[in-house]
Symmetry: C2
Subunit: 403 residues, 2 copies
């Protein structure tokens, strides 16, 4: 946790990945992020993966680290009134609301704005028109499963990473802080709608794939080959599978040299009349001539043998490994990564969990803070933000409106 | 383009996806983003996809929309001096620098800070320790290719979406605006390092997959099945392939009803002693019992037949289509998506390109602005930011230091 957003208060009413990961990024940069949770938990409160032998969600507790939880009966008018009051409480550093509730529901921007004119709402959505959509359905609609997977198998391949959700969370955090910068200057609030459908469509435009599809049709399925340059997985003498990627001239030169392929590659260049080093596209076009040379070089050497040569040559490479191998043995990614700290989680388990993706060089990293228990901060929030006294809070409890 | 960041000036020295997409997000929210480009273009200036019959990169022009370009000989000491001077120019709304140059190079934070104490540097990296890494190598190291693809094929499957790069770009934009909020309050600058390796490791922690791998080992490869709830691709009577996803009780109920599966699903629940509606995990555990029912329901109906029933029942679904089909015929994603505007690009092509993923409800969307030509803003930047007169600029041109 860092302090870039220290002093800010963000209220979050959201579930699944995009909204909660936005709140997580804000919290881990120092904001006070107050979730309102349904009593008993929202629709993602038991989402898999679960803690072994339990219904505690490792997913939920991963996405809600470092936040506060106020548990409210959001189905009742009075519970909704409380949620609106918390979201729109005064203060220059408050009035920031993050949600994935529907545009027209009780947490509409109009309802929020009626109570606080300069409210900033960031609303994560499925489709831009309000239709239901999740990462996996949006991904099918933009065609990526048709391009993914072995070239010898035409079945569509879904991604397992909820990439659009994760991108949505980070972009939502950017949108929230950007809107706050404007509000600080002009006093204006904003309603920002962020549909996964537009995240996917705009991203594929930004990286040139929309233009490619408009001007050249569909990119064929090319398996694990890197599009437009040189890259693929290769199997070593010891059976280890490595990926190497060479996009820049330097990456290419380092790779060819580390594999002792200078002579055959030079011969191939002469035969084809190309210069691979300064023409990444030629490496892609002629990859089926290059691959046998590389396959041969890999099959004669073990990964342990190649690693020092690759590192000395600044080759861009990695070994394919399973996530379990990575989390139990990869020092750079996990076991000695200073972004990870071992903490006790609400599931009761103690395990290593991550802070921010970013490192602020020279600044203290701060603690990774566990997710709250549901309602852990109900009294604190009702008392400090809404100014309710203990009697009033007790009555809300007794009536089942908060927990 | 929106105005949330109007008045800010960000200087960008970066290539490939993560850095430039960060600059793009900042530019499309209204910041002035000035790239310095190598004379003749940097290492991604001819990156595929290319415009048909040309070496103009659709990728580069997608990622650099709406920015300014000052072309400098960055290999020369005097060119580097110019770059440092531009990046560290004074002003409360300036002093924001985005890069993927190495930590210890001429654009080190120390070098920048020596000229401007409150500089904010956001530095996108491969591995946290400075080793070279790109999206595809990092992805292999965190194990996702081992989980991706058909369950009957054990080959690792690379993703085709540069998900970590895109996430890095959005997170970097969040980090930049967050650091500016702190600087506005305290005057402090920051060096923010954002390695793809930490983006991947922390993201998999945030969604519970690190905890899962630590406590339960590797998630098996499950093809296109949605983990932990109900979802998969199914083929309709007309051959169309649809994905349906049911995570919440409402999504499940809507899907079962739309497919007229209430009776057989109820019978299966009685047999198994489960209640699928309120137990998404049971839907996953027993998916191989559920799938035949669904397969049968899909094979008797066409996509055109199912669509109204799905939409009426708020089913979360989509049709698999290719990107070319989507960009040429999908109104919601592309052909009538107001985030897209048809503009003339530096390649000379005219095609539809995207603005921001976010919509600011009720605010003018503004124009999508094409990428610059290399050096299009050299004179403007040297004159307005460094205060050079036309004679001084001409001398730099004559000596080949700028273009």
């Amino acid at each position: 946790m860092y302090d870039l957003l220290a002093g800010l208060r963000v209220v979050e009413g959201s579930a699944f990945i995009a909204g909660p990961s936005c709140g997580l990024h804000l919290a881990q940069m120092g904001a006070e992020v107050i979730r309102f949770d349904s009593i008993g938990g929202g629709p993602d409160y038991h989402r898999w993966p679960l803690a072994p032998g339990s219904d505690a969600s490792l997913y939920w507790e991963g996405l809600n680290k470092g936040k506060k939880s106020v548990a409210i009966d959001l189905a009742s008018p009075e519970g909704r009134e409380l949620a609106l009051a918390i979201a729109t409480a005064p203060g220059d550093n408050a009035g920031l609301f993050l949600t994935n509730y529907p545009v027209k529901g009780f947490l509409s921007h109009e309802a929020l704005k009626a109570r606080r004119a300069d409210i900033i709402t960031v609303r994560v959505m499925g489709w831009a028109d309000g239709a239901p959509g999740v990462d996996y359905t949006i991904n099918a609609a933009v065609g990526l499963p048709m391009m993914t997977g072995p070239a010898d198998d035409q079945r569509p391949v879904n991604h397992v990473l909820p990439a659009w959700d994760l991108l949505g969370g980070a972009y939502a955090a950017f949108a929230m802080t950007s809107a706050l910068l404007r509000r600080r200057a002009s006093g204006e609030g904003a309603e920002i709608r962020l549909p996964l459908s537009d995240l996917a469509a705009t991203s594929l435009s930004h990286i040139g794939q929309v233009a490619e599809a408009l001007t050249g049709g569909d990119r064929p399925r090319i398996g694990n080959d890197l599009f437009g340059a040189f890259g693929r997985d290769f199997v070593c003498a010891d059976g280890a599978r490595l990926i190497v990627v060479a996009i820049t001239p330097r990456q290419w030169a380092g790779l060819v040299e580390a594999l002792d392929l200078t002579a055959p590659v030079t011969a191939l260049e002469a035969e084809l009349g190309v210069a691979f080093r300064h023409d990444e596209g030629a490496r892609f076009i002629h990859r089926h001539r290059l691959f046998p040379l590389f396959e041969g070089a890999f099959t004669t050497r073990s990964a342990a043998d190649l690693q020092p040569a690759f590192d000395a040559g600044c080759v861009t490479w990695a070994r394919y490994q399973s996530l379990n191998e990575a989390v139990t043995s990869d020092a750079r990614l996990f076991t000695e990564n200073p972004q990870f700290q071992t903490i006790v989680h609400p599931s009761g388990l103690t395990y290593s969990a991550a802070g921010t993706a970013a490192t602020l060089a020279g600044e203290p990293r701060g603690a990774v803070v566990a997710a709250p228990r549901l309602g852990q901060h109900t009294e604190e929030v009702l008392s400090t933000i809404l100014g309710l006294d203990s009697g009033a809070i007790a009555r809300l409890h007794d009536r089942g409106l908060v927990a």
